[in-house]
């Protein structure tokens, strides 16, 4: 494979994104009077959230997903079987496809699982999202380690993973296998995304050729797990390479991120068991751990071979901000009472409920500790998304942490000839233009 060029990083902008799921991240969020509990599966609910996030200038939104229900009402042993929490999810990638033509600037990062899905479908689906959004697509890659997903697909047995071992960061052969499988899927996606060179379509009437087939490449991927021939069915998309995002709670998953991803999301300062092996760890320690993984010579070589720059480390934070009507703490206490349990004890990400200033100080401190951005999980939707956009984001800009509004309104037709890559998701993460591993004329990509 030819070395990849042209993937120059242009400094690392601090990003502020938002993570969407159901009626918000609190299990009782749907019971808020302002929630859209009765329309969580309606298109307009999601379009309105995306429009609001875009209007306020957030860099991207992510959409949570998995192959199984949040709780299984058919399972007598499942504590959530009483139907007290939100059940059901739309397919996140398709939701992003729906939102894409209704927005023009915000990045769209759906969760799409590996393990049971077909890498070819996953890669071409995301590539199509990049076409539909004209370069605003990303992929939050997630494995399906649960037995329920395996039973739902019925194609391969459930992996044997010891959840306790994994939670304590102990090595686990089952997990390693799923992570290796996910790395295969990511590698297949990366190759398929490059398999058409940008100018493969030539429309040469003289020779009757639509395509220059020398610029369309089989990927010939073979691993112990599967093989994929390629090339992609989809011509190269505007970004070429989509940013891949991995949420990591432990070193083995961070290692996957370091091998294949552009962005790793971490959950510092949460003491809940759900925060995994890194629970309760301060930001600086997590950042140092990830940088150490990244410096491992084998991993550094893998990143270089894939044309990946330094990992962007993004921290997750569940957020509820004070409003004129109610201090956020009261809202959290009220929702905890409805849910019958304190949410902070079961949230993998730290929960902050308080005034804007408190959130601002925390984010500033995290940034000083080496974080490249935050992904905010609104405690309730749409209410907490609204205060994030209306109050926190301007405060972050004023403080010089987030890019200012004019800058982040990239792609708006201010200039006579707007840069078509200005609103690309890669640009928001400061990833620069992606090279192409199959490009035969390297100077063209320089």
């Amino acid at each position: 494979m030819s070395p990849i060029t042209g993937s120059k990083s242009t400094g690392v902008p601090f990003t502020v994104g938002v993570a969407l799921d159901g009626a918000g991240w609190h299990p009782a969020a749907w019971r808020e009077p302002s929630s859209r509990a009765d329309a969580l599966f309606a298109a307009e609910t999601w379009v309105e959230l995306a429009e609001a996030a875009e209007a306020d200038g957030l860099d991207y939104l992510t959409i949570a997903d998995e192959l199984t229900l949040q709780a299984d009402p058919a399972d007598p042993a499942d504590p959530a079987k009483d139907g007290s929490a939100v059940l059901g999810r739309l397919d996140a990638a398709l939701l992003a496809d729906w939102i894409a033509p209704r927005t023009s600037r915000i990045g769209l990062i759906p969760t799409v699982t590996t393990t049971h899905t077909e890498p070819f479908h996953v890669a071409t689906g995301l590539q199509t999202l990049d076409h539909v959004s004209t370069g605003r697509a990303g992929w939050q890659l997630r494995i399906s380690a649960d037995a329920a997903s395996a039973a739902a697909f019925g194609r391969r047995p459930a992996p044997e993973i010891d959840p306790d071992a994994v939670a304590f960061g102990a090595p686990d052969a089952g997990l390693d296998e799923l992570l290796a499988d996910a790395a295969d899927s990511a590698e297949v996606a990366r190759r398929l995304w490059d398999s058409w060179e940008d100018d493969a379509e030539i429309r040469d009437a003289a020779t009757g050729r639509f395509l220059d087939r020398d610029r369309v490449h089989p990927i010939d991927f073979v691993s112990e797990r599967f093989s994929i021939a390629g090339p992609s069915i989809v011509p190269r998309s505007p970004q070429g390479q989509l940013p891949i995002v991995v949420l990591a709670h432990s070193a083995p998953v961070a290692e996957l991120a370091a091998r294949v991803a552009d962005v790793v999301v971490v959950t510092p300062e949460s003491s809940s068991p759900r925060a995994g092996a890194w629970r309760g760890r301060p930001v600086a320690e997590i950042v140092a751990g990830i940088r150490a993984i990244e410096r491992d010579p084998r991993i550094a070589a893998a990143r270089a071979a894939s044309g990946l720059g330094p990992l962007r480390i993004v921290a997750d934070l569940v957020l509820a901000l004070d409003t004129a009507e109610e201090p956020a703490v009261e809202r959290l206490v009220r929702l905890d009472a409805l849910a019958g349990a304190p949410f902070a004890a079961s949230s993998d990400a730290r929960v902050l409920a308080g005034p804007v200033e408190e959130a601002l100080e925390l984010i500033a401190a995290w940034r000083a500790a080496g974080i490249d951005g935050v992904r905010l999980r609104p405690l309730t939707l749409p209410a907490d998304l609204r205060t994030i956009g209306a109050e926190l984001l301007p405060a972050l800009r004023e403080r010089g942490i987030a890019a200012d509004a004019a800058e982040s309104a990239v792609g708006s037709a201010v200039h006579a000839e707007p840069d078509p890559t200005a609103h690309h998701l890669r640009t928001r993460f400061g990833l620069g233009r992606a090279g192409n591993r199959y490009d035969t004329r390297t100077e063209a990509a320089a």
Binding site: A43, L67, G88, H116, H131, R209, F210, F226, V234
Partner: protein
């Protein structure tokens, strides 16, 4: 819509996004991008302006190859079907979106949730063209790999659709309560787990997507073989047919619609829509000239040679496109991969047939290929074409057409501007989409197509006497299975002794008992009974589910119904027993709020008879009823 003449039949029109084959002309200056979303937006919005029933998109699983290399003469590359259908639905309001999706290289639980997602987002406008994928060539792009033999492909497709429908039916309408005050988002009794163990799929899944507006997508089918026709008669609501000739179309129409009664379906529940290319002109003569020009553009010299090579099964270097057909005899190498239409059974016979036609009609190689591959279905002035479409539909050669323009994305414009108004004047084509009469919302695709809501399995609970024939299959099964599990050694008697122990009257209302059977489409699939145990306690007996319906929550419905009925008769407590060799029954009762009156830590055989009890809530608070389940 203006009043239609007596004999008029409604015309249905579908807009096929130009495909990756030689029908699509890329050399025309008007030809735009095949991949930019703007082309799809424009195409879908034009079709909606023309009040088409739906936009259709084919699927690509692998780039086509010719002579072992990527075929470079035709438009190549396309978006992923599901993604682009969703985005097209997002920029339209009423038109349907239908795509081809393989049942060979997808998995039911994933595809079912994807289609249900689009149905939710679009307000019920999605359809699925179910195809089977033919070969290992396509399998090369999938981890599942390989391919299935022909017959197996259709068996997989059948079972795929059946399982997908179970998943789409697994959330009852109204399962989402979103009741803030009561703190109940969903009624878990109305969400069923689907357990499916068939030859093709072994799945246990609870759908992640609530029931969507249409319940499930409109099912389209394109296969034409006898197996394909039977599949269509059983499952399809639309056939995307290749029978575009008038007489041939009528034969096909009669054949397929004739298969419907045997499948218990009406003629109106299946529409037949052949694919059709078209060429328009101010006059019929202009249109014929236009058709010739388009055919020539569709058959470039290189395309003509490549097509002949595909038929001949060998490379034919130095062939003159403006000369005669090759004198060489065909080989047997598959030149073309990934395109079914160029596959030939008997190459020698086919080559001779083509030579004969070229001789007879005095055609050059390129002219012959144009005549074979680029003949347009509808050629004429707008008036001629409108009248021809009307005739096809009126005289039952089709129910309309899937129109395949040759230019992306503007190839539909002229048809929409010039032919559609004439069809509307004739009163055979809608002038507006018909909104939902109740909600005023944009129509579902099924409503636009005028298709009946497909029947869902009808479930009802019936109170019967023990001697009722409806109870007999259950009692017979019960006896067989008890004997198989216990023989006589566990209880010292055959099951028939236990089953005959109590008089039939014990299970009748005057004596404080009841016998219920659960019927699906009139057939008993489960049941149960109770009798008076004491003044305040009913004893449940005979709870049974037909083996092929187990693991789907059916017994839970029966249990709930029995509890309701017992509460109605004034009981406040249930007592029941089961045996040591019925772990699934023990699990059922434990999962349904029953308290074991034995030590669950002991081995089952040591426990022997397993007694349970449960207090009954007063009438009206119980969970889902069978009526609600069937709603």
């Amino acid at each position: 819509m203006s009043a239609a003449p007596e004999s008029a039949r409604r015309v249905h029109l579908v807009a096929h996004f130009p495909g990756v084959n030689s029908t699509t002309v890329w050399s025309d200056p008007a030809s735009g991008s095949h991949i930019d979303f703007e082309s799809f937006r424009r195409f879908a919005q034009t079709a909606e302006r023309g009040r088409f029933d739906y936009v259709f998109l084919a699927e690509g699983l692998r780039l086509r190859e010719h002579g072992g290399r990527i075929h470079d003469l035709d438009v190549a590359g396309r978006p992923a079907t599901l993604a682009i259908l969703t985005a097209m639905a997002s920029v339209t309001r009423s038109i349907g979106v239908v795509g081809t999706l393989s049942s060979t290289f997808n998995e039911p639980v994933e595809l079912a949730r994807q289609l249900a997602t689009i149905d939710h987002l679009s307000g019920g406008r999605v359809g699925w063209n179910v195809v089977t994928s033919p070969d290992a060539f396509h399998g090369g792009n999938f981890r599942r790999g390989g391919f299935l033999p022909y017959a197996e492909r259709y068996r997989r497709a059948e079972e795929f659709v059946e399982l997908a429908k179970e998943l789409w039916d697994s959330w009852e309408a109204g399962a989402i309560l979103a009741d803030r005050a009561a703190g109940r988002f969903v009624d878990p009794e109305r969400v069923r787990r689907v357990v499916h163990r068939g030859p093709q799929f072994d799945v246990s899944a609870t759908s992640t997507v609530p029931r969507s507006p249409q319940g499930y997508p409109v099912i389209v089918q394109a296969g034409d073989s006898p197996a394909g026709r039977d599949f269509a008669a059983a499952n399809a609501e639309i056939i995307f047919s290749r029978h575009t000739g008038f007489a041939d179309g009528q034969r096909f129409y009669r054949d397929v619609k004739g298969r419907l009664p045997a499948a218990g379906r009406t003629e109106e529940s299946l529409l037949i829509l052949p694919g059709a290319t078209f060429a328009l002109g101010d006059t019929d003569a202009d249109a014929r000239e236009r058709s010739r020009e388009i055919a020539l553009a569709q058959t470039s010299p290189q395309t003509a040679i490549a097509w002949i090579e595909a038929i001949w099964g060998r490379e034919l270097p130095g062939l003159d496109p403006d000369g005669a057909l090759p004198a060489q005899e065909p080989g047997d190498g598959d030149q073309r991969q990934g395109q079914v239409s160029t596959r030939v059974e008997d190459r020698v016979a086919r080559a001779e047939q083509l030579r004969e036609r070229a001789r007879r009609e005095g055609l050059t190689l390129r002219e012959l290929v144009a005549a074979e591959t680029a003949q347009h279905t509808l050629v004429g002035s707008p008036g001629t074409v409108a009248s021809e479409i009307d005739r096809y539909v009126r005289e039952r050669a089709s129910d309309g057409f899937v129109l395949v323009p040759h230019i992306t994305p503007g190839g539909l414009d002229e048809f929409v501007d010039r032919v559609v108004p004439l069809l509307q004047e004739r009163g055979v084509f809608r002038t507006e989409y018909e909104a939902d009469p109740v909600t005023g919302a944009a129509p579902t695709l099924r409503r636009t197509l005028g298709l009946p809501t497909p029947p869902r399995p009808r479930t009802e609970v019936r109170r019967v006497h023990v001697s009722d024939p409806l109870a007999k299959p259950l009692l017979d099964d019960l006896e067989r299975e008890y004997d198989a599990r216990y023989g006589v050694e566990v209880f010292g008697e055959p099951a028939s002794t236990e089953l005959a122990r109590y008089p039939a009257e014990a299970f009748a209302e005057p004596h404080g008992g009841a016998f219920l059977v659960l019927l699906r489409d009139g057939e008993p699939i489960s049941g149960g009974a109770f009798m008076r145990h004491s003044d305040d306690t009913a004893e449940f007996k005979r709870i049974w589910t037909r083996p092929d319906h187990r693991g789907r929550g059916v017994a839970k419905v029966v249990l709930t119904e029995l509890e309701r009925e017992a509460a109605r008769l004034g009981y406040s407590r249930v007592y029941l027993t089961t045996g040591p060799r019925q772990p699934e029954a023990v699990a059922l009762y434990l999962g349904h709020g029953y308290t074991p009156l034995f030590d669950p830590a002991l081995p089952a055989d040591e426990v022997g008879v397993h007694p349970f009890e449960k207090p009954l809530a007063p009438v009206g608070v119980a969970g889902a009823t069978a009526q609600e389940v069937a709603a």
